[in-house]
């Protein structure tokens, strides 16, 4: 293996950095959009066909753009936001715009799984729309939301591999530039093993948390 352990460690750090910051902002964006998609739909607590009619297609558009295209297509926007269009931090902007809408669909699904009777009971108690979301929908969907975030995190790790296209670095970038382009099979193997370990760990933690919060004897 031609890659020094320093490069590898640095790549691990870059991946963790992109995934954690990307997930943080992506989750905020995703939860907001996901909740809007649920509560503004027909028959729900804040039914509003205009808001739903705007948010829904926007989410679809972002979901349908391949990440590698998104990465370069929004370069001007990225520059506006973080001052540069290359580097690890710059890669986070497209990562958030990629994973946010994805998380919003997962959140939407999780919240829609909550029995309509729960919302009805909340309304009968005189809960405000905010209380319905905060005290009924999210707690009831919580185990399912954990699994959603787990799935999104793993998707995000996949996406960071492409961040190399804008100089984002990370494990994927090491595998391509050192492993693939220089025919160093060992580097590819090591980076792939590292990614597999990452994914396994995250899925395991997600499952454990989900079980902890799902109160089934």
């Amino acid at each position: 293996m031609e890659v020094s352990s320093e490069i590898l460690l640095n790549a691990i750090w870059e991946t963790l950095y992109m995934v954690s910051i990307g997930l943080f902002f992506g989750a905020i964006l995703g939860f907001i959009l996901g909740i809007i998609l649920v509560v503004t739909r027909k028959g729900h607590i804040l039914e509003n066909k205009w808001v739903f009619g705007i948010v829904n297609p926007i989410v679809n558009i972002f979901r349908s753009i391949p990440f590698i295209i998104l990465l370069v297509a929004i370069i001007p926007f990225t520059r506006l936001l973080v001052g540069t269009a290359i580097g690890t931090t710059a890669a986070i902007v497209p990562l958030v715009l990629h994973i946010g809408p994805y998380i919003s669909r997962l959140v939407e699904n999780s919240l829609l799984e909550v029995d309509g009777g729960i919302v009805e009971a909340a309304k009968a108690m005189g809960a405000t729309p905010f209380q319905v979301i905060r005290k009924f929908l999210i707690p009831e969907a919580f185990p399912s939301l954990i699994l959603s975030v787990t799935t999104a995190t793993i998707g995000l790790i996949g996406a960071t591999a492409m961040a190399g296209a804008v100089g984002g670095g990370g494990l994927g970038d090491v595998a391509i530039t050192y492993g693939y382009q220089r025919f160093d099979d060992m580097t590819i193997l090591v980076t792939v093993i590292l990614l597999v370990v990452f994914v396994q760990l995250i899925q395991m933690i997600g499952n454990k948390l989900e079980r902890h919060f799902r109160h089934i004897s």
Binding site: D115, G117, I118, E120, A121, K123, A124, M125, G126, A127, T128, Q131, K135, F136, P139, E140, F142, P143, F213, H215, I216, S217
Partner: protein, 359 residues
């Protein structure tokens, strides 16, 4: 306490208008346990939901304690909703929370202090008999226990009205009975007016004092439970009553009638109230020259008033039998002769319908 005035509700589904409530007029008095019975699709679910505005009427209005809730501001409406508790067929409890947190929810939404919530929750949990389950998650409870939690949650805000939406339909008969007893206690001990919707006449029979029968979005019959059971007017009501009080004439009796004999006549007697205690039958046998055999009989209680049916055969001279019948009539017992044909119960199609309805 609750008054429906020309309450109408239309749904628009695929450009079609479906009328779920059709100019309903109904008054529920303070302290009533009022039952609304109907088959599924009769509109009773919609009706109960207009009381706390889970459904907003298209036309007409609903007055709760004299107030039209649709006229209130959002804040006032939330305050009024605290006075209306509701329990559901499928309980609608939060799986993610313990019994305590579920029951405490209406108070914590209102921002009541923790200490006060705690004492109130303990009080209502004791009332419903679940004080030992305080910190248990909902999944670990049986259906009956879940409904008790539902009742505790509804009572926690000290409501004036309790709405019960098919509250016992998902429970077995034994559990149903215990929940109905609990609701009776809610009515008596807290003086809460209860509105129950159900498709089970047994529920009405067990605890209601007044009843309305719904069909196709309309109220087809309403009155005291005793009146409705003793003298149902519409076929729907008759079918419901027969699901509890079996007064149809058994087939074997019709077989007897086939071999008609003018000296053997069959009568159906209906006793309401004190008359049940009267030894009418034996008196008749002594006073008149007729032999009487009892072919079929049952007795039940409605609002502590006994209510019974008896089918007897009188054997003897026809003129003497007529006298006996007159005597029974004078004792305020309803009596009618069962004739071989012309009885609605003989119509096989109707009997099939009956079987279908009673399951």
């Amino acid at each position: 306490m609750i008054e429906f005035i020309e309450t109408t509700k239309d749904y628009h589904i695929h450009n079609q208008v479906i009328r779920a409530l059709d100019h309903v007029n109904l008054k529920i008095n303070k302290g009533d346990i009022f039952g609304v019975i109907g088959f599924s699709g009769a509109g009773k679910s919609t009706l109960i939901r207009t009381v706390n505005l889970l459904e907003v009427p298209t036309e007409g209005k609903v007055l709760v304690d004299g107030k039209d809730l649709t006229q209130l501001s959002k804040k006032e409406l939330r305050k009024e909703k605290k006075k209306i508790g509701m329990i559901f067929q499928h309980f609608n409890l939060l799986q993610s929370k313990t019994v305590f947190d579920n029951v405490a929810m209406p108070l914590s939404l209102a921002g009541v202090k923790k200490e006060e919530i705690k004492s109130r929750v303990n009080e209502v949990l004791e009332f419903v008999g679940l004080e030992e389950k305080t910190n248990v998650y909902i999944n670990q409870l049986s259906g009956g226990q879940k409904q008790r939690v539902g009742i505790a949650r509804a009572l926690i805000t000290n409501p004036k009205i309790l709405l019960c939406d098919e509250a016992t339909s998902a429970l077995d008969p034994q559990t149903t009975k215990s929940i109905l007893n609990l609701l009776k206690r809610v009515n008596i001990e807290y003086g809460i007016t209860i509105l129950i919707i159900t498709h089970e006449m047994g529920v009405i029979h067990e605890i209601c004092n007044r009843v309305a029968v719904m069909e196709k979005g309309r109220i087809v019959e309403t009155g005291s439970v005793l009146d409705i059971f003793s003298d149902p007017k519409t076929q729907t009501t008759k079918n419901f009553v027969q699901s509890v009080v079996r007064d149809e004439i058994p087939d074997s009796i019709f077989e007897q009638l086939e071999q008609a004999n003018p000296n053997e006549r069959i009568f159906k007697l209906k006793f309401i109230g004190v008359d049940v205690g009267q030894p009418v039958v034996s008196e008749v046998a002594k006073k008149f020259n007729v032999d009487i055999s009892v072919l079929f009989g049952n007795i039940t209680e409605l609002q502590q008033v006994p209510f019974g049916n008896l089918i007897i055969e009188m054997i003897g001279d026809s003129a003497e039998t007529d006298k006996a019948v007159q005597y029974i009539k004078n004792r305020n017992v309803q009596i009618e002769e069962v004739i071989a044909d012309g009885s609605e119960f003989r119509d096989p199609s109707k009997r099939d319908l009956g079987n279908l309805i009673y399951g």
